[in-house]
């Protein structure tokens, strides 16, 4: 596991390198023949992969955007008609969309907040563990290795009133999946259990980046543990924190598996991904479903944009720092 950490840290630095595009532009006129040839070779080598990427991502995206302009039901191919932005109008004016947007946002905020606190604590434990270091790290990462559908079933069985162990254990008599809030509670719990390790892994990468001299210097200056954490550790891993929060927020916002397995969307637990699934797969309304997916994609891009702006982290600068 220890090999993973530098690799993850390296990824952050790589991103930083890519972010520094501005400087490359300045350098371009002074490029030597050799550098130009290397660049061409680079394109040549990366070209096939680039084309494949376009074929498997750009094409389906463009296709979905195109379909989203039609009223098109798979079982009624003759009834296909162009409706322009009609599907988008329908979705955005439907209270169902906004309710599910609210549920999705709620799940995202709760799970990411809890995961962040827990993940940070676990990252500190993994970072500072003096003995059994590898075992501790492995143990913490186990839930992340479990397939979401499997963990969703495990949590569902645990909380099912008829044969689950949770009710007898706590002496309760609650039908956990019979109402909105308890269902969402179990869904969030499963999500948190499953992905906190991912959060802590990314944060651990950030922790590992902080030179120990910073912390030692703070210690010498008489900083308490809390002060060191707030004034030295957190500011120095801002980039890692942003990446961790961003990745998890994007993931959480697209939550599907847990809801699908545990409630099938009953009791107001549907999320936006579920809405897209229901329109596209269940109702085979390809046009409407594509429009929901496009809206979901736009929201995801918006979240990423807000995070990068909000954190004011210039990943390129971090590169100089390290």
């Amino acid at each position: 596991m220890s090999t993973t950490v530098p690799a993850a840290a390296g990824e952050v630095r790589e991103e930083a390198a890519r972010g520094g595009g501005g400087r490359d532009v300045d350098r371009r006129p002074r490029m030597t023949d050799r550098a130009r040839k290397e660049r061409n070779l680079g394109w040549l080598l990366a070209g096939p992969a680039f084309i494949v990427m376009l074929a498997v991502t750009a094409y389906p995206i463009a296709n979905a955007v195109w379909y989203s302009l039609f009223d098109f039901r798979l079982t009624d191919p003759d009834g296909r008609s162009f409706v322009g932005l009609g599907n988008y109008g329908l979705i955005l004016s439907d209270p169902l969309f906004w309710r599910q947007f609210g549920v999705t946002a709620g799940i995202t905020v709760v799970t990411v907040a809890v995961e962040f606190v827990l993940g940070f604590a676990l990252a500190l434990v993994m970072h500072r563990a003096l003995f059994l270091r590898k075992s501790v790290r492995t143990a913490i990462l186990v839930p992340y290795g479990i397939i979401t559908v499997v963990s969703a079933y495990a949590w569902q069985y645990a909380f099912t009133p008829a044969y689950g162990f949770v009710n007898p254990l706590f002496g309760t008599d609650l039908n956990w999946f019979g109402d909105t809030l308890p269902s969402l509670f179990v869904i969030c719990l499963s999500e948190i259990w499953k992905t906190t390790p991912f959060m802590s892994l990314l944060l651990l990468a950030g922790l590992a980046q902080i030179p120990s001299t910073y912390i030692e210097a703070a210690k010498v200056d008489g900083a308490t543990a809390w002060q060191r954490f707030r004034k030295v550790i957190v500011p120095n891993m801002k980039g890692a924190i942003m990446v961790a929060l961003l990745f998890r927020t994007l993931d959480a916002f697209r939550i599907f598996d847990n809801v699908f397995v545990m409630t099938q969307g009953a009791n107001g637990t549907e999320t936006l991904s579920f809405l897209a699934y229901r329109q596209t797969i269940t109702r085979v309304m390809i046009g409407l479903g594509s429009a929901v997916s496009v809206i979901l994609a736009i929201l995801v891009v918006l979240i990423a944009f807000l995070f990068i702006k909000g954190f004011k982290v210039n990943l390129a600068e971090q590169r100089g720092g390290s």
Binding site: D71, L74, T75, D76, P77, L90, I91, D94, L96, F97, T160, P161, A162, D173, N175, F177, G178, D179, Q264, G265, A266, N267, L275, R278, Q279, I281, T282, R283, V284, L288, V292
Partner: protein
Amino acid sequence: MTAAGIAACGGDGDSGAPELTWYINNAIQEDLAVACNEQAEGAYEIEVSLLPNNAAGQREQLLRRLAAGDQTVDILSLDPPFMAEFANAEFLRPFTDEEREEFSEGVLDGPLEQSIFDDTMYSAPFYGNTQLLWFKRSVAEEAGLDPENEPVTWDQLIEAAEQTGTTVAVQGRRNESLMVWVNALVESAGGSILSEESEGAPADEVEATIRDEAGAEAARIMSTIATSEVAPAGLSTAGEEESRAAFQSDDGGFMVNWPYVWTAFAAAAEAGAVAEDFQDDVGWARYPQVVEGEDSATPLGGIGLSIGAYTSEEEAALEAVRCLRSPESQKLYMLTSGDPGAASEIYDDPEVQEAFPMYEAIREGLTDAAPRPISAFYGDVTGSIQQGYHPPDQLSPETTPQETADFIEGVLRNEQML
């Protein structure tokens, strides 16, 4: 799935027999494929491919395959309520008039009715299914009820369960089984979920009649059970198996469920989950009435055998369907799976009568059954009902029927999302 893929790529095997893929909804159906392959003596070779274990999953997989023009879908085990949607999209090969006559002969009314859409047969009735009222004889006696001889109403059941401190187990989970319950209640109250003219109507002309009195009566009965002491724990998430578990527990009194539970009781007794003589205390009767004195419209399920529109082995598939739906096959399947056959004659068979002492109630249920709405947009209709009539403890006879009807029509007119 893999087997189907390989079969499709490999073409004819060594035997030279046309290879057929049968998409089955229950693993036990494979036995029939084996039996028919033997009888066919090389006329065809059926391979099976198992579909997901819930109705919605089966529909989704078949629909997507057929929408993509999948030629390996030769024969399908199709849940009848979904047939109209498939037929309307021209995903199924219609049976000719002669074939229709052949596959209708001796078939009970319920299963037959649900295999016809737009006056054309698209599924050969294979097995029918109907729910019965199951009760503990000791509990019924204590409450002074005699459901076997004296038809009971839902209200009587609720009262009897209250008196005896027992439960009325029903399927309140938000899936197809909830739709079965709602439809049976609405039809038994003399109404229907969709108007009669809606059967072949385009989406924007479908009319939801659940807003009428019968829809209110259904909401009243459902919410009365769900909000009273007679509701088993976890009613809003209970499917057939959860209902059976509730009925088998000490405070179980009454239950509506499919006949498969009879064989399941025997298995539970053998496994020690219930007392050895548990079955002795279990009685059965026709599905409860909504209006006293008016026969109930019994719930109807089952499976029909359809031929995919894109099959390249039409003749062989037809031959195979002949064998798979034959009364002999139906009997074999009934004895192994517990799912009742669609043909009337198998209920006269001594073996069937011995294994299913309630055979007469099943036959009656399959005859007087009310199919779920036949519509090309059934998927949207059932989805809307499952939202409108769930959770059962929050229904209101005053608002639920109206809201649900508006919702069905809104969804079908593409003014609302589901």
